[in-house]
Amino acid sequence: MGKSLPIAPVEHPWATIVVLLIAAVVFGAIPLSLAWLWARLFSPPKPGIQKNATYECGLESQGDAWIQLNVSYYLYAIVFLIFDVEAVFLLPFAAAFSGLSLAACLAMLVFLLLLVEGLIWAWQKGVLTWA
């Protein structure tokens, strides 16, 4: 107690961090550079048309990846949303049906009818007929 350590005090409070940072970088860089060196010596690159092909299931890829989808699908997606939201609310509605008050039941019916109205509107517009 009271006797100071023989190591000289560090001048800057961040000096330890800097030393550790350099050590961490070197620790990562040494195996990576060794692997790179080994690959340069004992792994001659041999690229080829099939080796560099994007598709890797043995079959040759056919056609173009930039195909266009029919724009009518977007209407289907919107109509799907109607049923989607409806199903989310219908499930708790059905589960709690026997204990519901009249007001809650009416509110749910209004919600359902609003969605059904949207569906009828879309139907009348001819969205459900594929063109």
Binding site: W38, F42, S43, P44, K46, G48, I49, Q50, K51, A53, E56, C57, G58, L59, E60
Partner: protein
């Protein structure tokens, strides 16, 4: 390094090795096969990887679904003429060094379906096969034996010199020609650089 000197040193508790041995030791204990089954032999291959036979003991349990990450292709089953181009293409897409085990009678010669109009009479007609396993199907022990044979082959490969394996020779191509359908089956019927026709070998 002299083998006798090495044995003598090991008696005194000194372990001597070379980079080549270390490298091959690492390679042979981490062979990654391709997830690729063709027929009934594939069931035996699957059984080999499972707990009862446990291919993981040999460091080869990591079956890779992509040829880019695989070292070893186990051709497990009948290669039909329709499948052969895909097999060769998959082999071409694997990075080197790569190895092939032809598993079962079908993969090495066509097996019981040899006379079928649609059956390739052995995958060694198109790609170089390192280990052949006979059997219909071979038992998992046979596949494990083939595996250990392949490990012996890997550990005996040299990194330098004229006897170094194909993948270390810069001028040799890594891709093998993929057969195509012609009027009478696959064309060409075999890759003459790879295939050692047993009839011609017998004739000398």
């Amino acid at each position: 390094m002299d083998q006798d000197l090495k044995t003598e040193l090991s008696k005194h508790g000194i372990f001597a090795t070379s980079f080549e041995e270390l490298y091959n030791w690492g390679r042979k204990n981490s062979v990654w096969p391709l997830t690729f089954g063709l027929a009934c032999c594939a069931i035996e291959m699957i059984a080999t990887t499972m707990a009862r036979y446990d291919l993981a003991r040999f460091g080869a349990e990591v079956f890779r679904p992509s040829p880019r990450q695989a070292d070893l292709m186990i051709v497990s089953g009948t290669v039909t003429k329709k499948m052969a181009p895909q097999v060769v293409r998959l082999y071409n897409q694997m990075p080197e060094p790569k190895y092939v085990i032809a598993m079962g009678a079908c993969a090495i010669s066509g097996g019981p379906f040899r006379d079928g109009y649609n059956v390739l009479k052995g995958i060694d007609r198109y790609i170089p096969v390192d280990v052949h396993i006979p059997g219909c199907p071979p038992r998992p022990e046979a596949l494990i034996h083939a595996f250990m044979t392949l490990q012996d082959k890997i550990s005996a490969q040299h990194l330098t010199g004229e006897s170094r394996p194909r993948h270390l020779k810069q001028d040799l191509p890594s891709e093998f020609p993929v057969p195509e359908f012609g009027e009478h089956g696959l064309e060409p019927q075999q890759n003459d650089e790879v295939f050692r026709n047993p009839l011609k070998v017998l004739q000398g």
